[in-house]
Amino acid sequence: MIASSEAATILEAVSLPGDPPVTPALVREHNLNQLEYGRIVEMLGREPTFTELGVFSALWSEHCSYKHSKSVLKSFPTAGPHVVQGPGENAGVLRLPEGWAVAFKIESHNHPSAVEPYQGAATGVGGILRDVFTMGARPVALLNSLRFGPLEEPRNRYLFAGVVRGVGDYGNCVGVPTLGGEVGFAPGYTGNPLVNAMCVGLLREKDLIRAAAHGVGNVLLAVGARTGRDGIHGASFASEELSEQSEARRPQVQVGDPFTEKLLLEASLELITSDLIVAIQDMGAAGLTSSSAEMAARGGVGVEIDTALVPTREPRMTPYEILLSESQERMLIVAEPDRVAEIQEVCARWELTATPIGQVTDDGIFRVRHGSHVVAAIPGQRLVEDCPIYHPAAEEGEQARARRSTIDPAAPVADLEGALEMLLDEPNIASKRWVYEQYDSTVQASTVLPPGSDAGVIRVPGARFGLAMTVDCNSRLVALDPYEGGKAAVAEAARNVACTGARPLGVTDCLNFGNPEKPEVFFQFREAARGISDACRVFGTPVTGGNVSFYNESPAGAIDPTPTIGMVGLLRRVEDRVGSHFDSPRDEVFILGDTSGILGGSAYWAEVCDFVGGDPPAVDLEAELQLQRFLVAAAEQHLLRSAHDCSEGGLAVTLAEAAVGGPYVPGSLGANLDLTGYAPDVPVDGVLYGEDGARAVITCAPQHAQRVIALANELGVPVFHAGRVESAGMLELQVGGQLFSWSTDALRRIYSEAIPRRMQHTDVDRAVGV
C-alpha cells in the first residue's frame, strides 16, 4: 500500500484553463455512475481532472472494460495445445503446420454504422485489419456478419447498401479478399443494424509480437495518420442505446482512409519482421488512451505521454481531445531509443511519420503531460483492470417464453412446393451474390473456395495446408432458446468448415445483445454464452478472443440476440477441399444425419407461415462432432464431389442450394431423389423444412458410394442414399407418397434475383435522402 500522503504527491495533476469543472452532471454525461466515480476518487486520493474524467469514461465504458460481460466470459474454454495466444490481446493466435500460425478476430461496429453506414462499416473493417497485423500477421482474408431490418423499408435498404459499399471499398483498397460472411434481415434490427467484421491473418509463429510495453526508458511513437477531432468518445457511444438523438452523434463516427491503412500495414509488418520494435497496438476504440494504458498494464510498467508532441490535424486540440480521438489509421509503437531513427526511416519509405510522444516509466503510473503541465496521473494497472464488475440479474423474458411454448403456427400451409420458392426468395436465405460481388474476393490470388461456399478456403503460398473460415449465427434460434441457439451457432460454423474438408480449429465471437442491465437481455447473454462454451468444449475449438457489443437497442426495443461465431479450420492438404454445389451428373446423393422433423424456430414457420415461435430442435453436440469427423475423413480420402450443410430452411433448401447455388455455373444441375425411407415417421413438412442440425447433403462419384457408406457406418453417422444428380434441369423429391418437382432454372432465378430485385430502388432511396 502506498501511504495516502505519498499517493497525493505522486498523483498530482492539474486542470488546464478552459477545462470545465468536474460536476456531478458532467460525471453523468461521461456515463460513470456513483459507484464508479467513488472508486475513481478513492484510487486517485482526490477528484479527477477533466482530462482524467475523459480517460476513465473511455476505459470504463462497456466497450473497453467488459464490466457487464467479464463474469460470463470467464467460462469460455480458451486453452488447447494449438493455442499460441488466447483472449486479451489484439487478436487470438492458433498454431498451424510448417511453422505458420493464424491470427484472427471479429469485432462489431454497430452503432457507428447505424448513423453513418458507409464510414461506420469501412472503419469497422479498418479496425479489425489493424488488430490482426499488429500481431505480426499479414491479413489474408476478411469476413463479415451483417444484420438489417427488412428490405421493404427504404431506410433499411439505405443502410444495407451503404454498409456493403463501405465494407467493400475499404477491404478492396487495402487488398485483402473478402472470403465470406452472412447477411440477415429481421424486424428487430430496424434502427440498430449489426456490422461485425472478421479478419484472418497469417504469420510465421516466430514473428508473433504481443502488445505489452517493456523496458523502462523505451520510447512511445505515434505512427500513421494525424490525430483529429473525429470519433471522440466513440467507445462511450458504443456503450449506450441508440435513440432519436443518435443522429447527432454522426460527428463521432470516424472517417476511414484505406490507402493510409495499406501503408501502415506494410510498414508495421516490416518493422515487426525486422525486429525493430518492442510492442505495437492500434489506436482503436478510445484511441491513444486505451492503446497506451493497455500496453503499459500488460507489461506491468507505467507510461508518460506528452500530448503536445502528438501530431494533430487541427490547432489547439486539448489533451482531452487528443487522448480520446478515434481518428483512424494510427498506431502506437514501443521501441528502444536507439532504434527510433531506423523506425522513422522505414516509415518514411511508406510515406508515414513516426513521432516520439512519450516513454515507458518504472512507477506504474499512467501519466499525461501537455507541455509542462501534468494533466492526468492515474495508477495504470488499476485504470485498466479495476473498473467495477457487475453481475446483473438474469431472467427469461415473458415474451420469449410464451413464443417458445406456442407449439403451432395459426395457419398450416398446403402448398409445400411453393413454400420452397418462397424460402429461396427470402433475403435471409437467397443468394448473397449482390453483396459479395461488391467485395474483391480473389486479390492475393489464393482463393480456393470463394464466397457462396459453405466456408471460404484459401491456400498459403509455399505451404501444403489450407485454411477454411466462416461466420455464422441463427438469431431466431437464439431468441427462442438462447442456450440451444448458442450451441447451434457454433455447430453451424463447425459444420460449414467441415463441409469443405477442414477440421475446426478455434473460434472468435462477436456477442451482440441489447442492454445488459435488463434481466431478459442478460439472461439471453448468459445462456447463449453457456451454449457457446459447451459446444466449443465438445468440438475442441477454444475461444481465442472476440468482442461484446451491448446496448444494441433502438426506440423500438432490443435486437434479436446475435452471438456471431467466427471460426477457422485447417485443411491438411489444401487440394483436398470440397465444394458446396453439385458437381457432375450421375453423382450419388446422400443425406447425412437424422431428422426429428421439429419445426420450432424454422425459417419455414417464420417466412411461410408467418410464425416466429416454437421450441427449436436441441443440438446434439456428439452427433455434430461425428459428422465433422466424417466430412474431414471423407475429404482426405477424396471420396466427395460436394458437401453442403443443412441449416436455415431445412433439407429442401439445402438440396436446392446444392443444385442451383453455384453462382457462376452456366448450366443447371438438378437431382432425382426419393426420401421415402429417410424419416418415414416424420410429416412431410418436417422432412422438407425441419432444421435439425448435425446434417449435410453430400455427393460422390458412383464408384465411391460403397466407401462413403462404410465410412459413415464406421464413424457412427446416419447415412441415407437419396438418389442421383441429374442434368435434366429438374429437382425432384419424393416424400411421403408425394412427388415435388421444381425447374432448376426457375429456382435459380428466384434464388439469385431475390436481393437485387429488392435493391433496385436503392438509388431512389439515396436521392430522397432516407
Binding site: 487488398g175 480473389t442 452456366p666
Partner: protein, 233 residues
C-alpha cells in the same frame, strides 16, 4: 529467362500476385519501387493492380507522375513490352501510353466476379501463347473499369486490331451479362499501335493455378517467356 520488373506504387495490392505468377513460369521477376528511376535491365514491365495513392482523385492519375514512370515511358518508347493489369491499365491510360480512359462502372458499384473474354490479338508479348479467338475465364475486380474513348479512337482501335481482350457470354444460354462494367464495344483490354504496351482489366495473375479453379490466365505469363526466347534467338 526474361527479367520482369513489377512496379510497386504505394497502394499497389496485386504486386505479389503478379510477381508470383511471373516467377511460376520461370521468369526472373523483381519489384521496382515507384521512386526508383531505373528498371534495372528489365526485359518486360508489369504495372500491377491496386489503388495507387488510394486513387482518391482519379484512378492512376497520381501514379503517372511517379519517378518510375519516366523509365517506363522510355522502356515503352524503345519497344519494350509493358503490361498494365487493372489499376496498371488505368495508369497506362493516364500516362497516355494507351488511348482512352477507364471510368466508373456502369452499375456504379465495384464488380468482383469471373468473366469470360475472348483473345483477339495474339501477336503481343503477353498473348502470343494463345490461339486467336481463345475463350478465357478470368476474374475482374474493379470499380472503374468501363473503357471509354472518342468515337474516332474506338474506330481506330477496331480498325487497327488493337483490341486484345473482349468480354463475351460464356454460352448462348448463359444467364449472366457478359460485360461487367459497360465498356465501349465490350472492350476488356487493348494495346498501343505498336503492340508492345498492353492494358487489361481482368486479372490473369489470379487465374494461373488449377487450385484456384481458373487457369486461363497463365498464358499471359508463359507468353512473356515465349516471346523473350523468340526475340533473343
Amino acid at each position: 529467362m526474361p527479367r520482369v520488373a513489377v512496379v510497386r506504387f504505394p497502394g499497389s495490392n496485386c504486386d505479389f500476385d503478379a510477381l508470383r505468377a511471373a516467377e511460376s513460369v520461370g521468369a526472373d521477376a523483381y519489384f521496382v519501387w515507384h521512386r526508383e528511376a531505373e528498371l534495372r535491365g528489365a526485359d518486360a514491365v508489369i504495372l500491377p493492380g491496386g489503388f495507387s495513392y488510394g486513387d482518391y482523385l482519379r484512378s492512376g492519375a497520381i501514379a503517372r507522375f511517379s519517378p518510375v514512370m519516366q523509365a517506363v515511358q522510355a522502356h515503352a518508347a524503345a519497344g519494350g513490352p509493358v503490361l498494365g493489369i487493372c489499376n496498371g491499365f488505368q495508369i497506362l491510360c493516364e500516362a497516355h501510353l494507351l488511348p482512352g480512359a477507364l471510368m466508373r462502372n456502369a452499375g456504379l458499384s465495384f464488380v468482383s466476379k469471373p468473366v469470360d473474354v475472348i483473345v483477339e490479338r495474339t501477336d503481343t508479348a503477353f498473348t502470343c501463347d494463345y490461339e486467336p479467338g481463345s475463350r478465357l475465364r478470368l476474374p475482374v475486380a474493379h470499380g472503374e473499369g468501363r473503357f471509354v474513348a472518342a468515337p474516332e479512337t474506338l474506330r481506330m482501335l477496331e480498325a487497327e486490331d488493337q483490341v486484345v481482350l473482349r468480354y463475351v457470354a460464356a454460352t448462348e444460354r448463359s444467364p449472366f451479362q457478359p460485360n461487367p462494367n459497360g465498356s465501349a464495344n465490350h472492350i476488356a483490354g487493348i494495346c498501343n499501335a505498336e503492340g508492345n504496351v498492353v492494358g487489361i482489366m481482368p486479372h490473369p495473375e489470379r487465374a494461373a493455378d488449377r487450385l484456384l479453379g481458373l487457369t486461363g490466365g497463365s498464358g499471359f505469363f508463359t507468353s512473356l517467356v515465349t516471346s523473350h526466347q523468340h526475340s533473343s534467338n
